[in-house]
């Protein structure tokens, strides 16, 4: 029998090692695994690398993990946004390393890892500072840079509905990075608003099939 449901948040994040690369889904305020991030604060893993589009807002969720001093390095496209106070304090104090990556390249690098590929050539950032140090190659008259796969040890996800096999659906723009991150980590953990019975999700509507998900925890909101 397959049952990926776990009893609570502590079980959901159990075993995340120090030094892990954590893919943290969400964009703006939508599709953020806030409860899982806060559970990692309790769990205690440190020296983490976090991959996320934004660097947390307010004091909860990812910002709580940053504020607790657990994140050594963040890979991010747009760290500064309204309310990103914790990140800004850490950045100004030189207490967090920032790797800035164009948004679609973060996403495609994770997809690349998920698909078992060794990298891809992209025209994005050619001729800019973000291309410095990258291998350049001209293909059919256009210049590209080599982008390498970005794999997570752990993915923290937020979905709308999930079943015991780990099949997930999302609501509206809360889908964002969740499906790609689910595929790109060794251990993918989803907080879901609703746990449903196996068979209740229309197979045509499942966005993330359970093969990509390891743990499901119910976090109603």
């Amino acid at each position: 029998m397959i049952d990926k449901r776990v009893r609570g948040l502590a079980d959901a994040v159990a075993g995340i090692p120090d030094g892990a690369v954590i893919l943290c889904a969400g964009f703006g305020g939508a599709g953020l695994p806030d409860a899982l991030c806060e559970a990692v604060v309790e769990q205690g893993a440190r020296d983490l690398t976090v991959v996320a589009n934004n660097a947390g807002t307010g004091r909860g969720g990812l910002a709580a993990l940053l504020a607790a001093g657990r994140v050594r390095r963040i890979v991010c496209s747009f760290p500064r946004s309204a309310g990103s106070v914790v990140f800004e304090e850490l950045y100004a104090a030189g207490r967090i390393e920032l790797e800035l990556v164009p948004q679609g390249i973060i996403s495609e690098r994770m997809r690349c890892a998920a698909a078992g590929l060794g990298g891809f050539y992209s025209p994005v950032s050619v001729g800019t500072r973000l291309a410095e140090g990258k291998e350049h190659r001209e293909i059919d008259g256009r210049m590209y840079v080599l982008e390498k796969p970005l794999k997570g040890d752990v993915a923290l996800l937020a979905a709308d509905r999930g079943d015991r096999w780990g099949n997930l659906t999302y609501r509206k723009s809360a889908r964002n990075f969740n499906p790609t991150m689910a595929m790109a980590a060794n251990l993918s953990i989803a907080q879901v608003r609703h746990i449903v019975e196996l068979g209740e999700l229309d197979p045509e509507m499942i966005i993330t099939p359970g093969i990509f998900v390891d743990r499901v925890v119910h976090v109603p909101m």
């Binding site: 703006g28 305020g29 589009n53 946004s81 164009p102 994005v124 050619v126 800019t128 723009s173 499906p179």
Partner: protein, 222 residues
């Protein structure tokens, strides 16, 4: 009178073609969604996976699962759809969007775009989707105030700030003019009436040339 920000957005909206798929960048370009001409179907794309962005919701209709690139609540038009981030950026990079309207710190006479960092050490840089959009959409147009608040020109011979992409901007909408970036340099198509060409040139670092059919730039009070 120089155009107000909403009037710049109105002017840019008048040029959108029926049936176009268009991405609106954060800031000034986001305002364009308020001025889509009623006789055209235009599909607005938001980088966070929304195809078919609708108007802002009423106070009782806000759904925080449905936001735009600027993280503000939006609605979805009839016929709209959701995709995940990787597919959204596939649309962006793969040439599937007809047009991206972007904001800028500076634009050069060659169409170089600088809009991601000012190198202020106290201000962490943020690139977001700008570099993907700048190289991926079929056409890039920029909406920008002609000068900074201090009066420094934003349309320059070369960008002083780090580039987002080189030689990608084809048209610039400002509060003073509509300017095309061409192989012959910057051509002014329209300019506001209470400034003469020398006055416009004085507010622009790069050399400008008037189009043969130079027209007045007018916008309604919006």
């Amino acid at each position: 009178m120089p155009l107000k920000r909403r009037q710049i957005a109105w002017r840019a909206a008048q040029d959108l073609a029926d049936g176009a798929y268009v991405n609106l960048g954060i800031g000034l370009p986001t305002l364009v969604s308020d001025f889509i001409p009623a006789d055209r179907e235009i599909v607005l794309h938001s980088e966070n996976g929304v195809l078919g962005v609708g108007p802002a919701p009423g106070d009782n209709e806000v759904d925080w699962d449905l936001i735009n690139a600027g993280k503000q609540p939006i609605t979805l038009v009839t016929g709209g759809s959701y995709v995940h981030h990787t597919d959204s950026f596939l649309m962006i990079r793969g040439g599937h969007l007809d047009l991206a309207l972007l904001g800028a710190f500076e634009v050069s006479e060659k169409g170089d775009l600088a809009n991601w960092t000012t190198d202020d050490p106290g201000f962490p840089p943020g690139v977001g989707g700008a570099m993907d959009l700048a190289v991926g959409a079929k056409e890039i147009r920029v909406l920008v105030e002609h000068t900074t608040k201090a009066g420094t020109p934003r349309i320059r011979r070369q960008c002083g700030y780090p580039l987002t992409a080189a030689s990608v901007v084809r048209r610039i909408y400002t509060d003073l003019a509509v300017i095309d970036v061409t192989t012959e340099g910057l051509i002014v198509r329209e300019m506001v009436e209470d400034i003469d060409f020398a006055g416009l040139q004085a507010k622009t670092e790069a050399a400008l040339r008037p189009a043969p059919e130079l027209r007045p730039l007018r916008a309604p009070a919006v």
